[in-house]
């Protein structure tokens, strides 16, 4: 039993990295723009399909492919922002952006269905079925890679936010858009770039999702979005590091419950969220604390 619990914890921690990669963009976009990007699930799937195209048609390794998919998703993020988000203003902006993001999700899903159909596709490379023997366990290479990429991506986002002039502008925009405008920050530019960065990070999440999910279709985004939102809420909306902690918490809790009763694993995670939010309504790393950093 001890071995099973240890293995479940290891699997949970590594699985958390995959979800953190997918949720990081969502929390960044919310933190800066107050936008709940419900298109995040389909953007993850889009990232997976981009990796699929490069892998199958250009025979490009999945990791090397990120050199193309990350910039491509950055551009897609910019386009989505300029076409769908930027024109929305006024008191109803938050609810309107929710609808706009939903529309974006439907459009992307429709395009993916048209291009790829409804059959499952999957991402394969030598490291998607291999493992290393560490601490008496076989740890899956793709999950180790995913966890490593999550740490690198989140660290890079931190560096951008806290060690660059652009990051200061982003944080100023997060705290008070009107004041940021008054001190000369081009808020629209900051917002567009932030949306682009959030979407670009999703390309990495998409690749790892595609390589660990066993197969995906254009419809796979729906299963993802509720979990990603749960992670972001648990972390504290806007907390990038918190997304990693919350994702690891989610997958580890579920993996541990799996040992006894898998049918309860999903319910236990959501129950844990309710309990935590009862005592910390702003999440583990609440939004106020995040913006004050």
């Amino acid at each position: 039993m001890t071995s099973e619990i240890s293995q479940a914890i290891a699997a949970g921690i590594l699985g958390g990295g995959v979800y953190a990669l997918m949720a990081a963009g969502l929390t960044l976009i919310f933190g800066v723009l107050d936008i709940i990007n419900v298109a995040q699930g389909i953007l993850v799937v889009l990232g997976a399909y981009l990796s699929y195209v490069l892998s199958v048609h250009l025979h490009l390794d999945l990791l090397l492919g990120l050199l193309i998919t990350v910039p491509a998703m950055f551009v897609i993020g910019l386009v989505i922002y300029w076409l769908f988000i930027r024109p929305l203003r006024g008191a109803e902006r938050t609810s309107m952006t929710l609808l706009a993001c939903f529309a974006v999700a439907l459009i992307i899903e429709g395009v993916l269905y048209r291009e790829f159909g409804s059959n499952y596709v999957s991402l394969n490379a030598w490291y998607t079925s291999s493992s290393v023997h560490l601490f008496n366990f076989y740890l899956a290479d793709i999950y180790l890679i995913g966890f490593g990429l999550a740490v690198v991506a989140i660290a890079a986002m931190y560096l951008i936010l806290y060690r660059t002039k652009f990051g200061r502008a982003v944080r100023a925009t997060m705290q008070n858009q009107a004041a940021a405008r008054l001190i000369g920050i081009d808020v629209n530019r900051v917002a567009a770039l932030t949306f682009g960065i959030g979407t670009a990070v999703t390309a990495i999440g998409g690749m790892v999702f595609g390589a660990t999910s066993g197969g995906f279709t254009p419809n796979s985004g729906y299963d993802l979005i509720s979990r990603l939102l749960a992670i972001v809420i648990l972390a504290g909306m806007g907390s990038i590091g918190g997304a990693l902690v919350a994702a690891v918490f989610m997958t580890t809790a579920e993996a541990l419950v799996d040992v006894w009763q898998p049918n309860w694993s999903v319910a236990v995670f959501y129950l844990a969220i309710v309990i935590i939010l009862t005592f910390r309504p702003a999440g583990l790393f609440g939004r106020r604390a995040v913006r004050a950093q």
Binding site: S131, A140, T212, D258
Partner: protein
């Protein structure tokens, strides 16, 4: 006062118009055996959502049948026209769709949706409106427990699907049988009963159960469950799956854990042709994996072969990429057409009575005959296996088309 009179007259005329429209619509309503030239057939399919891969395969099967039947002059000289609505794999939407098809679109006949989960509520709607309900993907007890007289499933009754494997294992010398088995089961009416039935028989045969748990369909990551199964080191894995990703996730996890069972069978997924091969990482990874089913593209029946050729010509790919959903859907059309031809009616009660009449029908899946519950008693369960990139029939031993089984399964 004048204005009130005008308004009253206007309202009266409006009400009369609505009443007249409703009467006309009701007279056109179809279960009474409409005499209009074209026979309208309504179906709700999961073109999006969790079952979309199967739903679209079903749509193609229905459309191929529609094309073929019209090319041969229709049914009793009447052309057929399909109206297919998308239920997004939702049990609520499937209910709405069939109500819409029957009461608004006034179809003459209904065909079933995909999966037992959706067939059960859909069959009740059809029953309420007096429609016969021939379907191809609702073989679980969830569908038959209601004992509806209008339900006819052309596919294999789900509960018995693993019987050929169980019988084969029981016939093996004790020394060659696996000594232990794991049953990880996705919580779905399609999987649970057949898995538990197989588990019961195999335990009686002395095959120890080392793992048997049901996990939710919405599980985000199969790695922890698959690792637990691998940790138990069972000699045989009977995976209760409903799709390709579940099987592929287990295969990848088993490879990562260097776990090689002597036998692996999944209730669904390996029958999905190229999609399955690419998901597990190619023919080598798929080698030896089995799946129970009623039909496969190599089935040596001339109508079936013609359907496979037609499918490839219309949708591309190769014969091995044609999955059983297409044949199930096509069979629904064949059986319904036979019933309408024989009774000369699209009326539900006439079709129900005829299909319950112990007649044997020919379909692309083989012979079909219904018992009082609407189960296909002529359906023979087969087990298919991936062998060096080919999907072949291996069980029952000695059945026409069966080749020697690859056992034990080669290592990953």
């Amino acid at each position: 006062m004048r204005s009130l009179t005008h308004r009253t007259r206007f309202l009266a005329i409006g009400a009369a118009a609505v009443l007249a429209t409703a009467l006309v619509a009701a007279c056109g309503s179809s279960s009474s055996g409409s005499s209009s030239k074209t026979i309208l057939i309504g179906a709700s399919l999961s073109l999006t959502g969790d079952f979309s891969a199967d739903g679209i395969a079903f749509e193609r099967g229905y459309e191929l049948w529609e094309h073929d039947v019209n090319a041969h002059g229709g049914i009793n000289g009447r052309k057929v026209k399909l109206i297919i609505l998308n239920d997004n794999s939702s049990t609520n939407q499937v209910d709405t769709n069939y109500t819409d098809l029957i009461t608004v679109k006034h179809v003459d006949l209904t065909f079933g949706p995909f999966s037992s989960l959706l067939t059960a509520p859909a069959a009740e709607v059809a029953h309420r409106y007096g429609f016969a309900f021939v379907e191809g993907a609702g073989g679980s007890p969830l569908v038959f427990n209601e004992k509806l007289p209008n339900v006819f499933d052309v596919a294999l009754p789900v509960a018995n699907a693993l019987d050929p494997l169980v019988n084969w294992l029981k016939a093996q010398p004790a020394a060659q049988r696996p000594t232990s088995a794991a049953y990880p089961i996705v919580n779905d009416p399609f999987t649970v009963l057949q898995e538990q039935r197989a588990q019961g028989f195999l335990q009686q045969a002395g095959i120890h159960t080392s793992y048997s748990k049901i996990f939710p369909m919405e599980v985000p990551d199969y790695l922890p469950t698959a690792n637990l199964v691998a940790g138990k080191k069972p000699q045989m894995v009977v995976l209760g799956s409903v799709d390709v990703p579940t099987v592929a996730s287990f295969v990848h996890a088993f490879e990562q854990q260097h776990f090689n069972p002597k036998l692996m069978i999944a209730t669904a997924g390996p029958d999905q042709g190229q999609a399955f091969l690419s998901a597990v990482g190619g023919a080598a990874a798929a080698n030896g994996i089995m799946v129970p089913n009623l039909w496969y593209p190599g089935y040596a029946d001339p109508t079936s072969q013609a359907m496979v050729r037609e499918y490839v010509a219309k949708y591309g790919g190769s014969p091995s990429g044609v999955n059983a959903d297409v044949a199930e859907a096509y069979s629904v059309g064949q059986i319904t057409a036979d019933a309408v031809k024989a009774t000369g009616s699209t009326k539900g009660s006439a079709i129900d009575a005829y299909l319950h009449g112990n007649h044997t029908f020919a379909s692309v899946e083989g012979p079909v005959q219904f018992n009082s519950l609407g189960e296909n008693v002529k359906a023979i369960a087969f087990v298919f296996q991936w062998q060096n990139g080919k999907f072949v029939q291996v069980l029952p031993l000695g059945a026409k088309g069966s080749v020697p089984i690859l056992y034990p399964k080669p290592n990953w």
